[in-house]
């Protein structure tokens, strides 16, 4: 019953065997083995279409970490099905295409297909997971496999740069999304998205609601290249073209779209969600189409057009979420939900024509050796099939009949017009903005589509600028884009088939209440009569042609946005300055000077301990239990204090050593007074030994350090020393005055009965607490061996290490 879970895992399992197949069957292109996986999965998933269209959903769960509520839960509904079919369907075509695109001899195919299968499995996991944490796991897996795929030609600097950039941006968003997921899960107490949707109504006033929403959106926006996080996508074009076609047009960038769609029932209906998603989508739509026009590299142009189209879908999802503002699902409120329906429709359309276009560009690149439109031209007669495919793809993208892009663009206009009629979310003032931006962006989209077709295939053929003699692509390379292009046309003529079987269920998954209310279905029709949308499209075509003709005269507008102020340079600058600043910050405090580190340590001690004492009010001075001070003790204490004070002021090192010895012997005397004969004995001997060792070192100190110089007195040292001294004194006094319980020494007074010893100290050392003594002995041994090794095994004067002898 876990077939869905198995379907997710299959690509990973096959990926394991790819290196084996690659080595064993080197004569067969590894791609043929891989091709079976997405085809089989596609067929398997396609079987669900009828039942999903009837409104059924499939769910199966494999326990993974049940104690944390993390289970490998696969959930298939209309929305997941659309994405899963895209992943496997476009995946099959891309694998077929890559078989002809990537050379068996020159490329490391084993790596390529392992990464690609990893990506496919991860992507299926993203769209089929019901558990937040598992969704996140697959989300990051797509980032990682995409990183590997972008840097597939890792010997190129640009590939590595693009891979790093996409990794940094998408993972940053991913981590943000994880934080959002954790907030959601804390709020609702479950990790299951379906349960969250079911209960979210109680939590809309929760303080974490808005932060969780924004963080989830951050993840979605970075992944699907929304403004201002879109900058990674053009650099990801360094990947092999099948990768660009698959990841960066049809699947991975749609993960963000999927996430927004999936979470629309959770957050939709909230003004913040509506505004953020719509505005970001519109800005991305405009900016992507505006920037695409200035590109001279075909893949960069397609990258920006992808950004723009993703912005379109995103803004539609934002506009459609307004329908959830109303508590009840009626025909009037469903009026606004057309945008969601359109978003899904355009999602499918975009995958078909953008996949085809990327493959076309790949063919052009493969057969001419360049993607630069300044070098290309006049390929129409040389590559007629490719040209046809390019025309279909571009015109669909531009929104012309008879291609599917026309339908979704018309519906896009309808949705923006409807949104502008909204009377909440302060849409009265801003409503008109939506159709205007949409229209302007569509004009720009039209312009770059014209550039794509006309600059590549019309004009003069310039064989001298090309690396290869241009010719038509092999059949295998043409089949996948032909299939996609036929879909583009088929969707135009029979839109209601996918409308009924795919988009309606997907729409139902996003807006379940609207489906249950049994409202009239949306019909997609190419002809609505002469209405505003049609006039807008005519305007798009008219203005687009004018703009394309006059392109040289207005290209100066791009000088207003020089590269210096672009988001790319902001990214580069940020990355560099972060590195530079952190280096300089580290160098500033990691000086390598022991003195500074001591200062830090002491200051931390002062601040933390003083703070703790002040915070807990622990300081107490209570002399009532103290023993009386005898005259001898007072005298020794005074002498010790004077000696200690004299050490820092000693003019020579010898004096300091001797004064230190005086301190040691006076301490021994104190032990005598306080009746600790063992300690006194040990202290005397140890002091003697250490004083003589000091003298030994003194004698061997290098000549130049022998000069008797006055110690540098620094005010700050004095302050730190005084503070630490005061602090420790206060601490000791407080401890003495805060006796919480009696001493345990009474136990040791029975030393003779317990250990047969009349010397309690020795009984403690040798019997009661012998473990400490044992370890101290080991410490002493280690110290001795350390001294011996340091002296005997040091490098000789020539600087040659003892190991090199």
């Amino acid at each position: 019953m876990y077939t869905l879970n198995i379907a997710i895992v299959i690509p990973f399992i096959v990926a394991l065997f790819i290196p084996l197949l690659y080595k064993k069957f080197g004569r067969v292109h590894t791609g043929w083995f891989v091709l079976a996986v997405p085809v089989a999965l596609f067929i398997y998933l396609a079987q669900f279409i009828p039942s999903i269209a009837r409104g059924e959903v499939y769910f199966s769960e494999v326990p993974w970490i049940p104690s944390l509520g993390i289970n490998f839960a696969a959930y298939l509904d209309g929305l997941s099905l659309i994405l899963a079919l895209l992943i496997t369907g476009v995946g099959s075509l891309v694998v077929l295409y890559s078989i002809y695109y990537l050379s068996k001899e020159r490329e490391s195919l084993g790596h390529f297909y392992v990464y690609l299968l990893m990506f496919m499995g991860a992507m299926l996991g993203v769209v089929l997971s019901d558990n937040l944490m598992v969704l996140y796991l697959f989300w990051e897996l797509t980032s990682i496999s995409s990183f590997l795929l972008i840097a597939y030609w890792y010997h190129r600097r640009q590939s590595r740069y693009g891979a790093q950039k996409s990794m940094l941006i998408t993972v940053t968003g991913g981590i943000g999304m994880l934080a959002g997921f954790i907030m959601l899960s804390t709020m609702t107490g479950t990790n299951s998205i379906r349960e969250i949707i079911a209960t979210i109504g109680q939590y809309t006033d929760h303080t974490l609601f808005i932060p969780a929403m924004l963080l989830v959106l951050l993840g979605a926006f970075t992944k699907s290249a929304q403004f201002p996080f879109h900058i990674w996508l053009p650099d990801a074009m360094e990947a092999p073209t099948p990768v660009s076609a698959y990841l960066h047009s049809a699947t991975m960038v749609k993960a963000g779209i999927y996430l927004v769609a999936r979470f629309t029932p959770v957050f939709g209906g909230d003004a913040v969600w509506f505004w953020v998603v719509s505005i970001v989508g519109l800005v991305t739509l405009f900016w992507g189409s505006f920037t695409a026009i200035r590109q001279t590299d075909l893949k960069a142009l397609l990258a920006y057009s992808t950004i723009s189209q993703l912005g379109l879908i995103m803004s539609l999802l934002g506009l459609g979420s307004a329908a959830l503002y109303f508590d009840e699902a009626t025909e009037a409120t469903a009026y606004y939900s057309l945008a969601i329906f359109t978003a899904l429709f355009h999602l499918i359309n975009h995958s078909t024509f953008k996949g085809a276009l990327f493959m076309v560009v790949g063919i052009v690149d493969h057969e001419t050796g360049t993607r630069d439109i300044r070098k290309l031209g006049g390929l129409m007669t040389i590559m007629p099939i490719t040209f046809t495919l390019a025309v279909i793809g571009s015109f669909a993208m531009a929104g012309l009949p008879p291609f599917n892009g026309f339908l979704s663009k018309e519906m896009f206009f309808t949705s923006t017009l409807r949104a502008s009629e909204l009377s909440f979310f302060s849409m009265e003032t801003w409503g008109l903005m939506f159709p205007v931006v949409a229209w302007v962006a569509s004009v720009l989209t039209f312009v770059y589509c014209m550039i794509l077709v006309f600059k590549t295939f019309f004009g003069n053929y310039q064989p001298e600028k090309l690396e290869k003699k241009a010719h038509e692509a092999p059949l295998g390379m043409l089949i996948p884009p032909v299939i996609l292009a036929s879909l583009v046309v088929a969707f135009f003529f029979f839109p209601n088939i996918i409308g009924e079987y795919l988009i309606q269920p997907g729409y139902g998954a996003i807006l379940p209440t609207f489906m249950e209310a049994n409202l009239p279905d949306y019909d997609i029709a190419p002809w609505h009569g002469i209405n505003t949308e049609l006039l807008m499209t005519l305007g798009v075509v008219g203005f687009g042609i004018v703009l394309y003709r006059l392109w040289p005269s207005w290209s100066g507008i791009y000088a207003l946005f020089p590269a210096k102020f672009s988001l790319d340079s902001l990214y580069n600058h940020t990355l560099m300055s972060v590195e530079r600043r952190s280096t300089s910050l580290t160098n500033r405090y990691m000086t390598g000077n022991m003195y500074h580190y001591m200062v830090y340590i002491f200051i931390v001690i002062i601040v933390v301990v003083t703070g703790a004492i002040a915070y807990t009010g622990a300081f107490r001075f209570d002399p009532s239990n103290d023993a009386p001070i005898s005259i001898y003790e007072a005298f020794i204490a005074v002498v010790m204090a004077l000696t200690a004070i004299a050490i820092p002021f000693a003019k020579s090192r010898l004096t300091a050593i001797l004064l230190n010895g005086v301190l040691g012997y006076l301490l021994a005397l104190f032990f005598v007074f306080f009746r600790a004969p063992d300690l006194a004995l040990t202290q005397l001997v140890v002091e003697t030994v250490s004083a003589s060792l000091f003298l030994l070192c003194f004698y061997f100190l290098p000549e130049w350090e022998k000069e008797k110089r006055k110690r540098k007195i620094k005010g700050i040292n004095a302050i730190i020393a005084l503070s630490v001294g005061t602090l420790v004194t206060m601490l000791a006094l407080s401890v003495q005055s805060n006796r919480l319980f009696d001493s345990i020494s009474a136990f040791y007074e029975n030393a003779y009965e317990l250990a047969g010893a009349q010397n309690i100290v020795n009984a403690i050392l040798g019997d009661f607490r012998a473990f400490d003594t044992m370890l101290e002995v080991v410490v002493l041994l280690i110290a001795g061996i350390g001294v011996y090794v340091l002296i005997k095994l040091k490098a000789n004067k020539g600087g040659r290490d003892v190991e090199n002898k």
Binding site: G766, V778, L780, L781, G784, I785
Partner: protein
Amino acid sequence: MKTNDVILHTVTKVAVFIILTYGVHLFLAGHYEPGGGFVGGLVLASAFVLLLLAFDIETVRLGMPIDFKLLAAAGAFISVGTGLAAMAFGVPFLSQTEISATVPILGEIPLASVVLFEAGVAFAVIGTVVTIIISISEDV
């Protein structure tokens, strides 16, 4: 001018025995009076140091061919070993015991396992201190 250390040598020869005796006394008396393995070891070590001061390292080595590094290691080994030996008898690590035994000449005296432990401490202390002093002095 040739230095003549005859007084130092003579005094050392006498003093070393007194110091050694006192060190052994401290070591043995530790259980009942001030003293014990650590202090005893230090005092014994100081006897060797005095020898080293009065004579030179080669002479001392000829007179007492002991590798003090091995002595230190043996001491640490004995200390840890007594602990392990206790475990062999099924009692916790480092448990000490004592028995009364009748020894010829001395008669009945208490024998405590803690003496072995303390001996380890003393050996480790002697070995370490003398190793350090010899290492540093040889480094001239």
